[in-house]
């Protein structure tokens, strides 16, 4: 009898504990949903939005069993059923609101289709032979890659190759390239130089630079150089992993110089080593890396940067991802009044000219850090010069929401990215 009483007490405690956990999940769910839906200018919330907006499908399936569990744990006769009704309403609301990013996929696809039709014509798909199409993603989005992950593709990877050892720092790159012969693959040895983000102060190659995408592109015949550049040492800290050996008192001039050094080494050393096609170069980067992509890609032939880059490289396209279209004042000497030329030349939209390469931009519409105005300015300046600029927008996508490749935004992005690369390579 005593044992039975003990058992029923234990069950009661377990149920109480589960109930508490469920209410806690609801509370966290409400906070996460607010972060998903409303732009709030707070660094913690912005950091949270990076991840939350990418995993809402999973959160949705977390709220469903939590609601059911809480309903089971709440007796029907208590509080005249109001408690159960509120649990059901909150649970359903959380589920539906977190399903919105998944439901917005057709909107992203429609935008991308319109953008590609404007740039390449209504029948742009006919420019891609079936042989090449077989290498590409067959659909813009699928649920199995979302819920079971985007598989790592099998390619050659060399990590930590030193390319710069001066000014008290060492800079390395990782290179991803295909196994076997490249010539049959869509990329055919074209080069992609990837620049990571992190406010010019944080971040790193590899972990911080969508390595699953690098592997995927390498298996398509691209030689992907994921490179480091010198970062401004502000003395602050961030949750973004950053190696100390790349930090220094660097300006944007220095960063562009270091990347320029890489382009020269690519011409003299790495092109032969990795059998890279120097007549087909793409530059791609996210956030701060997107700003540098804009400056380098659009300023490659600008007299201001004369001598900075290799002349043997042909830039076929640039891919700035949520790019800031401004030169941060802490990264340039002086201010826009005393040093207007530098500020002008380190703002991507100011560098547009008719010889610039076509541009593909990724832009989240829920980006609190770099708003769509930046992408629109770059687009409008390029279009004014007669250069194609495709802007793919993603509802509910926050800053850095391309980091998990299988998510709602990245799948659509990858589908059009691989086609853009092929059409321009």
């Amino acid at each position: 009898m005593h044992g039975l009483l003990n058992k029923s007490k234990k069950v009661k405690y377990v149920k109480q504990f589960l109930r508490l956990l469920c209410y806690l999940t609801f509370l966290v769910g409400i906070i996460f949903t607010i972060v998903l839906l409303f732009p709030i200018k707070n660094s913690l919330i912005i950091s949270m939005s990076y991840f939350i907006t990418q995993i809402t499908g999973f959160l949705m399936f977390l709220y469903i069993p939590t609601t059911l569990l809480l309903l089971k744990l709440t007796h029907k006769n208590r509080f005249k059923n109001w408690n159960r009704i509120s649990i059901l309403v909150i649970g359903l609301l959380l589920t539906v609101l977190n399903a919105l990013p998944l439901m917005s996929v057709p909107v992203s696809i429609q935008t991308a289709e319109t953008e590609f039709s404007v740039a390449y014509g209504e029948n742009w798909r006919s420019d891609i032979p079936q042989r090449v199409n077989n290498y590409f993603l067959p659909t813009q989005f699928n649920l199995y890659n979302y819920f079971l992950g985007f598989p790592h593709r099998d390619c050659n990877v060399e990590t930590d190759v030193l390319y710069y050892d001066a000014d008290g720092i060492r800079l390395y790159f990782d290179v991803y390239y295909p196994k076997g012969v490249y010539s049959d693959l869509p990329g055919n040895g074209s080069v992609i130089i990837k620049l990571h983000g992190g406010s010019w102060q944080y971040g790193d190659k590899s972990l911080g630079n969508v390595l699953v995408l690098n592997k995927y592109l390498a298996t398509q015949g691209y030689i992907v150089f994921d490179i480091q550049y010198g970062l401004f040492d502000s003395g602050g800290s961030s949750f973004i992993p950053t190696p100390d050996y790349v930090k220094g008192n660097f300006t944007l001039h220095d960063m562009v110089y270091q990347i320029g050094t890489f382009t020269k080494l690519l011409e003299t050393t790495y092109a032969d080593r990795y059998n890279a096609n120097l007549n087909s170069i793409f530059i791609m980067g996210g956030s701060a890396g997107g700003q540098l992509t804009g400056v380098i890609g659009l300023g490659y032939n600008d007299p201001y940067f004369s001598g900075n880059f290799s002349n043997a490289l042909t830039i076929k396209g640039i891919i700035p991802i949520y790019p800031p279209d401004f030169a941060p004042s802490f990264l340039l000497p002086g201010d826009p009044l005393s040093n207007p030329l530098a500020f002008e030349k380190f703002t991507p939209s100011n560098l547009a000219d008719p010889s610039d390469p076509p541009t593909l931009i990724f832009q989240g519409l829920r980006d609190d850090l770099v708003s769509i105005d930046n992408a629109e300015r770059i687009r409008s300046s390029l279009n004014d010069e007669g250069v194609d600029c495709i802007v793919l927008t993603f509802p509910f996508a926050a800053h850095a929401s391309d980091l998990i490749v299988g998510n709602t935004y990245s799948q659509v992005w990858l589908y059009y990215l691989e086609r853009f690369l092929y059409l321009e390579h």
Binding site: F51, I64, L137, L143, Y144, L148, G149, H152, V212, G406
Partner: protein
Amino acid sequence: MKKEKYCKVVIKYVSKLGIFLSAFSLSLGIIYFFLPTNSILYDLFGFVLIFSWLLNGALVYFTDIYLNKNFHIGKQINRLSYYYLALFIASILLLVFGIIFSAFIISGPLLVLGNIMIVSGFLITNLYGFHFCIVTFTNIDNRGAWTFE
């Protein structure tokens, strides 16, 4: 009385469909882990996977309403539904952390761990869902287990 009979039929068919969909997504999921390519068949698998999760959730909801929890089989199925919900939550957490892990790790044991989390998350939720549907279906005609008798 009519309404209760109707509910019995609903639970019967939901559990039957749940068995079929869980088995289908389990087999295709296992094939996908061995052959992770992109195909139309997997597109179908994605939809079936989600639908089976939602269907199993609906089954838990219905069984909770109509189970006779004073009868030993009713108690057993009720306990199973608790386990299923707890395991479902754990599986979703395994899947999401596995996916985040594998998105940021280039190679090595951590990448393997990420993949193990994804595979086990998928297997746990679908195997247990399959089991729950079978137990519900085989006991649907059990006298005393349900309140609609």
